[in-house]
């Protein structure tokens, strides 16, 4: 037969909270376990020490006096906040006309204010705005090896783009052969008389 008590019973036994058959069973079991008896003695000793160290709960002085004061204050507050009796509204005939008239006047005023706001001037006056917003020139170079440096040059009175990393034109290429042809000579040449754009002129 298993006589080992469960933890809850053991805890209650340590706190001297058992009685009757449970207490007898536990005492019989503890007689064979001196360590449990020592633990209960330790628990008892701690409880005694706590009882002497912590002052016992004391009632506040004049408790009835304070309770009476509090109860009286509550009663007085309830009396002052009591809902007054509703006065019977005077059934004057002008109120029947005044309330709808006021509502109609409010609606008319709101409507007039709305129309005035719609027909008013816009909040942003663009009359003085510049015709074009100046945008800084941002050169884009599709070739990753080419960098374009842009700056404004007051001295040269120009915007300047300096290309770095662009491939050199072969010296053997004779650009000048056709470049310095004058307008008159150009017109005399049948090959160069018509525009020869490599790409379509439409976009």
């Amino acid at each position: 037969m298993n006589t080992t008590p469960d933890e809850l019973t053991l805890a209650r036994w340590l706190d001297d909270d058992l009685d009757g058959a449970e207490l007898e069973a536990m005492e019989a079991w503890a007689a064979k376990h001196p360590e449990q008896l020592a633990a209960r003695e330790e628990s008892r000793r701690w409880r005694g020490w706590i009882t002497t160290a912590v002052p016992a709960e004391t009632e506040p002085p004049y408790a009835e006096f304070f309770n009476h004061r509090i109860a009286r204050a509550i009663r007085a507050n309830s009396t002052s906040n009591a809902t007054p009796a509703l006065a019977t509204p005077a059934r004057t005939p002008w109120r029947h006309f005044f309330i709808p008239l006021t509502a109609c006047a409010g609606m008319v005023i709101a409507f007039l204010l709305g129309t005035r706001i719609q027909s008013g001037h816009p909040e942003i006056d663009v009359a003085g705005a510049p015709r074009a917003i100046p945008v800084d020139l941002l050169p884009y170079t599709p070739d990753l090896d080419v960098e374009a440096e842009y700056f404004k040059s007051p001295g040269a009175a120009a915007m300047v783009i300096v290309l770095n990393g662009v491939g050199a034109i072969p010296d053997s290429l004779e650009l000048i052969q056709t470049a310095s042809v004058s307008q008159e000579e150009d017109e005399e040449r049948p090959m160069a008389s018509a525009p020869q754009n490599p790409q379509s002129s439409g976009s």
Partner: protein, 170 residues
């Protein structure tokens, strides 16, 4: 020639003047200005390397270039120029080395131009490759100068400026 082909040919012949008139009256082809592209050879070496037909620039232009440190060279030679109309809604191509396509400038209007300024979408093509694409507002007294590739001991310098009319330099 069968009958259907005759009808098609006659129809095309009949429509040709109308198509031509439509092209002429296309408001997008109306010129709203002109842009000149001038190419210089700037070098500290022998200016004769550009060739005997290269033209030395006038002293005022050379002084203007030299006032910018990055554009300072001892010699400037004008190699070629081309002026093309700036159309309302079509692109134009300037070919300063016509008929060579070694250097081309494509430009297109990006806004309403005035007598003193033009907003341009610009592209510089070198050796058949697009080298720069940019947006630029050029003014009559403030052109765009591009210090470009090396050539014969110097560098090519491309000026994009407003022109009075096509065929006439600024």
């Amino acid at each position: 020639m069968n009958t259907s082909r005759r009808i098609l040919l006659l129809t095309l012949l009949a429509l040709a003047p109308a198509l031509r008139a439509n092209e002429e009256t296309d408001p997008g082809r109306a010129p709203i200005g002109a842009v000149a592209v001038i190419v210089y050879h700037a070098t500290d070496g022998d200016p004769k390397a550009a060739g005997a037909r290269a033209v030395a620039v006038d002293e005022a232009t050379a002084k203007r270039f030299r006032r910018e440190k990055r554009l300072q060279f001892r010699h400037y030679r004008r190699l070629g120029a081309d002026t093309q109309p700036l159309l309302r809604s079509y692109e134009s191509w300037a070919e300063p080395f016509k008929p060579s396509h070694e250097l081309l400038v494509r430009f297109e209007a990006q806004g309403r131009s005035t007598a003193d300024s033009a907003s341009l979408d610009l592209e510089l093509w070198l050796s058949g490759k697009k080298t720069i694409k940019t947006y630029s507002v050029i003014e009559r007294d403030r052109p765009l100068l591009v210090l470009g590739p090396e050539w014969r001991g110097g560098r090519l310098m491309i000026e994009v400026a407003m022109a009075t009319q096509p065929g006439k330099d600024p």
